[in-house]
């Protein structure tokens, strides 16, 4: 019996994954646990399509699936395409508990950068499309917004989706060789994903695409040797679309369509993706190994730094000291800066939002007073419902503004205090704190003199992220959705009239305009007070949460600095011989790391055959 090569590869990869997870457990048990859990969880192979904005990701996806206009271009959120008996689409909204079904015609408005959302709606975190196309039976495709656009948050969304991919489909176009932002993005996105399939799009439009493709290969070989042998698939979504729907009345034949389809190259790409998906288990192991390898590379880098600290050369030692002193000074300055920035930013955002409340309610008041003056009978009777509806609209808009304000404040405060990686983690901590404080379900905040006025409700996090998402309905997991780099207040603000207000209205007003006006003013004054109080409370929470997170970060950094100092001092106190010995020990440690890296590299080199190769 001959062993199929895949089985041997599978055994090798599984063993390597086990071994590398064991290594990782010693240094970062959390990450190891995550990776292990992910490896064991059953999931369908997901190919995440990444690349810079405007490279033709969405058109390519439509061509791959074979359905024109299935996903729109210029996506602002990530769109997951999976198999379903019937074509359907759902949006997971930040402020709705359940996904909202979408009509195909609405896709553009919901999913794209320039799309018009219905009044008061927030951009979905994630859109899910089901379609019976045969390709989707084999794998799930995820379209991402892409990097390099003017909104950096969109690149974050893409990276996040990429972290949970089985394989990446990296899309570049034939207009120009890979640019530096594309390169950086590729490097970041492929940190945890081993298999990357490269596609060169728009080859129909650029006669020089072969030159560009050769240049891309050379650039990858020089800058990212890992992808030196990776296969590139030239494709044209335009030709594929043309072949699928040749215009009538031109006298074209099936042979013409076949020729166009062949030139489009989409079938080859489809086959390559199916090959990858067909070996999902192997790919998962390879991804685990890749993720651990990235982590080990970071450790190796840190080890090299430590070795420099133990360098017997006194010059190097004093340089290390100077660097340490600089870092400590920078750290002190940063701490001063962030407390100041945070206070200013929170205060400013709070004032802005409070002003917004005044304006919004002022507009409502004017409009309704006008209606009271002109209305009669039935119109007056319906006034409380009218007020309730208006208040609801105001609260939806405010929730959105509040989320944006929170986000902006966190952005600025975290930017002064932390690097991008740390900022991501801090956001997570802030989330957790806000969630704790915000939990508590519905509550009635204000009761006016007659137990009337305004009810405020605070939902749960699930309310914001969409219940389905939290329940894990997404192929990429809830983390991909909530951790997308967006900070949301723990809950939206729900505002409406309490039952007492209705009762009071009917008791007091009946059909008296004067009384109606009086009632309206009272109710709106209550609403203003309630909102003002609520907003102040939310911002106090935010301030508290950010302070906690930043304090913790500062402490961590201080500890690290202290550790460095101790290390350097220890090194300085020892005589040259001891230093040399310690250094030798650390070099040995690094050698172990390097040895492990080499082992993993060897395994991964053999796994390179999982993707298309040249």
């Amino acid at each position: 019996v001959t062993t199929p090569p895949d089985a041997a590869l599978a055994r090798m990869l599984a063993a390597a994954a086990d071994r590398s997870l064991a290594w990782l457990r010693a240094t970062d048990p959390d990450l190891a646990g995550d990776l292990d859990g992910w490896r064991r969880a059953p999931h369908r192979p997901a190919v995440v399509v990444v690349g810079e904005t405007g490279r033709g990701k969405s058109s390519l996806i439509n061509a791959l699936v074979g359905v024109p206009d299935l996903v729109p271009a210029a996506t602002a959120t990530y769109v997951e395409l999976r198999h379903g008996a019937r074509a359907a689409a759902r949006a997971y909204l930040p402020d709705r508990p359940d996904p909202v079904p979408l009509e195909p015609a609405d896709m553009r408005d919901w999913a794209t950068v320039g799309g018009r959302l219905p009044d008061g709606a927030r951009r979905p975190r994630h859109i899910e499309v089901e379609h019976p196309a045969p390709l989707l039976a084999d794998l799930t495709l995820v379209d991402t917004p892409g990097a390099g656009g003017l909104d950096p948050a969109l690149a974050e969304v893409s990276l996040d989706a990429a972290a949970r991919a089985s394989a990446l489909l990296f899309v570049a176009d034939a207009a120009a060789p890979l640019s530096r932002p594309e390169f950086d993005f590729l490097r970041a996105a492929s940190d945890r994903v081993d298999v990357v399939v490269f596609a060169l799009t728009k080859v129909d439009a650029y006669p020089g695409w072969r030159t560009i493709l050769a240049d891309n290969r050379a650039l990858l070989a020089a800058r990212a040797p890992r992808f030196a042998a990776a296969g590139w698939l030239p494709v044209s979504a335009h030709l594929a679309a043309l072949a699928a729907a040749l215009p009538a009345g031109t006298g074209t034949t099936d042979a013409d369509a076949a020729e166009l389809a062949r030139a489009a190259g989409v079938a080859d790409l489809r086959r390559a993706l199916r090959d990858v998906a067909g070996r999902a288990e192997l790919v998962t192991h390879a991804n685990v190994v890749r993720a651990v390898r990235s982590e080990l590379a970071r450790l190796e880098h840190a080890a090299s730094d430590r070795i420099r600290a133990h360098d017997p050369d006194p010059g190097a030692l004093s340089a290390a000291r100077r660097a340490r002193a600089d870092r400590a000074a920078a750290h002190r300055a940063a701490a001063r800066r962030w407390t100041l920035t945070l206070r200013t930013e929170v205060e400013r955002a709070r004032l802005e939002l409070a002003a917004r409340v005044r304006t919004e309610l002022g507009t409502v008041q004017e409009e309704l007073l006008d209606r009271i003056d002109r209305g009669r009978g039935a119109a007056l009777t319906a006034l409380p419902e009218e007020v309730d509806r208006h208040l609801h609209a105001v609260s939806v808009r405010l929730s959105r503004d509040l989320a944006a304000a929170f986000d902006a404040v966190a952005d600025r405060a975290l930017a002064t205090a932390a690097g991008p990686d740390e900022a991501r983690r801090l956001r997570g901590e802030v989330h957790a704190t806000l969630r704790d404080r915000g939990a508590g379900g519905d509550r009635r905040l204000r009761t006016g003199p007659d137990d009337v006025m305004v009810a405020l409700s605070a939902g749960e996090l699930a309310y914001l992220a969409g219940r389905g998402v939290v329940a894990g309905a997404s192929a990429l997991g809830a983390g991909a959705v909530i951790g997308a780099g967006l900070l949301v207040p723990a809950a939206g603000i729900g505002l409406g009239l309490a039952a007492g207000a209705f009762a009071l209205y009917h008791r007091r007003v009946a059909a008296d305009r004067q009384q109606a006006r009086l009632w309206l003013r009272e109710v709106l004054a209550e609403a203003r007070a309630a909102l003002g109080e609520e907003i102040a409370r939310r911002f106090t929470d935010l301030h508290h949460a950010l302070t906690l997170a930043l304090d913790a970060a500062a402490e961590r950094r201080q500890r690290r600095l202290d550790g460095d100092r101790a290390e350097i001092d220890r090194a300085a106190a020892e005589d040259a011989a001891r230093r040399a010995a310690r250094r030798a020990e650390q070099v040995r440690e690094r050698e172990i790391l390097r040895g492990r890296l080499a082992q993993l590299d060897e395994v991964l080199a053999r796994a390179a055959a999982l993707g298309p190769i040249r």
Partner: protein
């Protein structure tokens, strides 16, 4: 026709030139020499740098603008060194080394800048190309390597060795840097849509000069390769126009306007590269069956590989000159109107290229400002020299001269440019209405345009200017924060001076 009519000198530049002469006569020789260099620049045409990402189509646009194909633009080509194209009596290429020495080269057989420079790329500071082209009489063009390229690596290094990160090489020796960093205006070329690094590159250009950095006053963006926005030979303009307008809105603070253009068609028609043979070949293609045309024109590869009455070599040539879009456009024009003359076809293609609008916008954006831009540039150079000058006498001489210039009413324009810069970079925030007013002050010379009252009588203009002056002062005194107040006082004084000028009937 087609000449870029940007005037080279004006009253401001002339005044600064005289000042330079005076300083140069009094200062020590070393400082005098530097000041004379600044002086010489004032006599030269306005210098416009073309910047943008790698393969954005910068060189193609340069060729189109000067109406000659001198910069190589093939698929694997890229501009490796900063190339300055200026007017001269003879066609000549000089390689300027980093040490300042020069080596002369002829243009190659096809009249293009030679690919092999005979000097290692690392030693080249820039290429100084003079051309006997009338289009360059009033405008010097500086072509720059692409930004955000992945840089030097192996075999590709040969071709993509570029000045990374900045449009102008920071390592240049002082003289070359003086010569090149001194572009007074910038045309930024991008494709598809503005990306984050495009905005960063434009911001980097601001750092080149302190007094006159890039802003809506002296920069313009071209939205090139619009034909790639749509597939096949479909009309790109319905997509390109709104997209350009949208990008202009995004870049409101950075550039004066965003103009869509099809660089290749512009280059081919401007440089007169479409021959009678080419037109005949296009006619032959127009005679094919609709099905044959459809498949042939579906992609570049099919266009070259299919059986067809036009020989393959000639098809390659057509593709190089017109791209698939241009070929498709010409073929459908000829199919629709078989009687279309070759001249008519070229005119149609030129219109589709859209260079006319580019030229009009460059003219409008830079023409009225050339004098102020050059003068501002020179003043900032003098300040820089002053900052580096050791002898106290020279230092005082330079400082006094600059201060005296800035105090004169006519030079208030420079103060306005500075204020505009502060506002356009977001350093100082103004209400949007005032921001627009300030931009008009900096950009327009015609009082009616400044006051946004086209066709108004002098009396009306005087009244409007006085009112604006009062409004700006009220703002400065009553509402503004200190930084805003400083800017507002500049605006106030500008309107006051404008009213005076109008009253004096100037």
């Amino acid at each position: 026709v087609g000449r870029l009519t940007v005037p080279t000198a004006g009253p401001l530049s002339a005044r600064i030139a005289a000042l330079c002469d005076r300083i140069a006569a009094q200062a020590t020789p070393a400082v005098g020499a530097r000041v004379r260099r600044v002086r010489r620049r004032l006599d030269e045409p306005l210098r416009v740098a073309i910047a943008g990402r790698l393969k954005a189509g910068k060189s193609t646009l340069v060729n189109a603008l000067i109406g000659r194909r001198v910069a190589p633009t093939d698929a694997g080509e890229c501009t490796r060194v900063v190339t300055q194209l200026r007017h001269g009596d003879l066609d000549r290429v000089e390689v300027v080394r980093r040490d300042g020495s020069r080596a002369s080269l002829p243009l190659d057989g096809s009249g293009m800048i030679p690919r092999r420079l005979g000097v290692p790329a690392a030693e080249v500071a820039f290429l100084d190309v003079t051309l006997a082209s009338d289009r360059l009489r009033d405008l010097t063009v500086v072509d720059t390597p692409g930004l955000a390229s992945t840089g030097a690596a192996g075999a590709v290094a040969e071709r993509y060795l570029t000045a990374e990160g900045a449009p102008l090489d920071a390592d240049l020796d002082a003289d070359s840097a003086g010569a090149l960093a001194a572009a007074e205006a910038i045309v930024y070329v991008f494709t598809q849509s503005v990306r984050a690094d495009d905005v960063a590159a434009l911001a980097a250009f601001r750092a080149v000069s302190t007094r006159l950095a890039s802003g809506p006053v002296n920069s313009l963006a071209l939205f090139s390769k619009v034909d790639k926005l749509v597939t096949g030979a479909a009309d790109p303009w319905p997509v390109a126009e709104p997209l350009a307008a949208e990008q202009a809105g995004l870049l409101r603070r950075v550039v004066a306007d965003v103009v869509p253009v099809n660089g290749l068609l512009a280059e081919t028609t401007e440089a007169g590269r479409l021959t009678a043979d080419d037109c005949a070949a296009l006619r032959a293609l127009a005679g094919l069956s609709p099905a044959g045309q459809l498949v042939l024109l579906a992609s570049a590869d099919l266009f070259l590989s299919r059986d067809c009455p036009v020989p393959r070599e000639h098809r390659e040539l057509l593709l190089a000159k017109l791209d698939l879009f241009g070929v498709g456009y010409a073929v459908s024009a000829l199919a629709a109107d078989p009687g279309l003359s070759s001249g008519g076809l070229v005119r149609l293609l030129a219109t589709a290229g859209g260079l006319g609008r580019v030229r009009r916008t460059i003219d409008r954006t830079f023409r009225s400002r050339a004098d102020a831009l050059k003068a501002g540039r020179a003043v900032s150079e003098l300040e820089r020299i002053a900052a580096r000058t050791e002898p106290p006498a020279d230092h005082a001489l330079l400082r006094d001269a600059v201060e005296s210039v800035l105090r004169e009413p006519a030079y208030h324009r420079l103060r306005v440019l500075e204020a505009t810069h502060l506002v356009s970079t977001g350093a100082v925030e103004l209400p949007e209405v005032m921001e627009r007013e300030l931009t008009r002050l900096a950009a327009a010379a015609d009082p009616a345009a400044v006051l946004d009252l086209p066709g108004a009588s002098t009396d009306q203009l005087v009244a409007a200017a006085t009112m604006s002056a009062t409004r700006w002062r009220t703002f400065a005194v009553a509402e503004a924060a200190p930084a805003q107040a400083r800017v507002a006082m500049v605006g106030h004084r500008a309107f006051q001076l404008l009213a005076q000028r109008l009253r004096a009937g100037l």
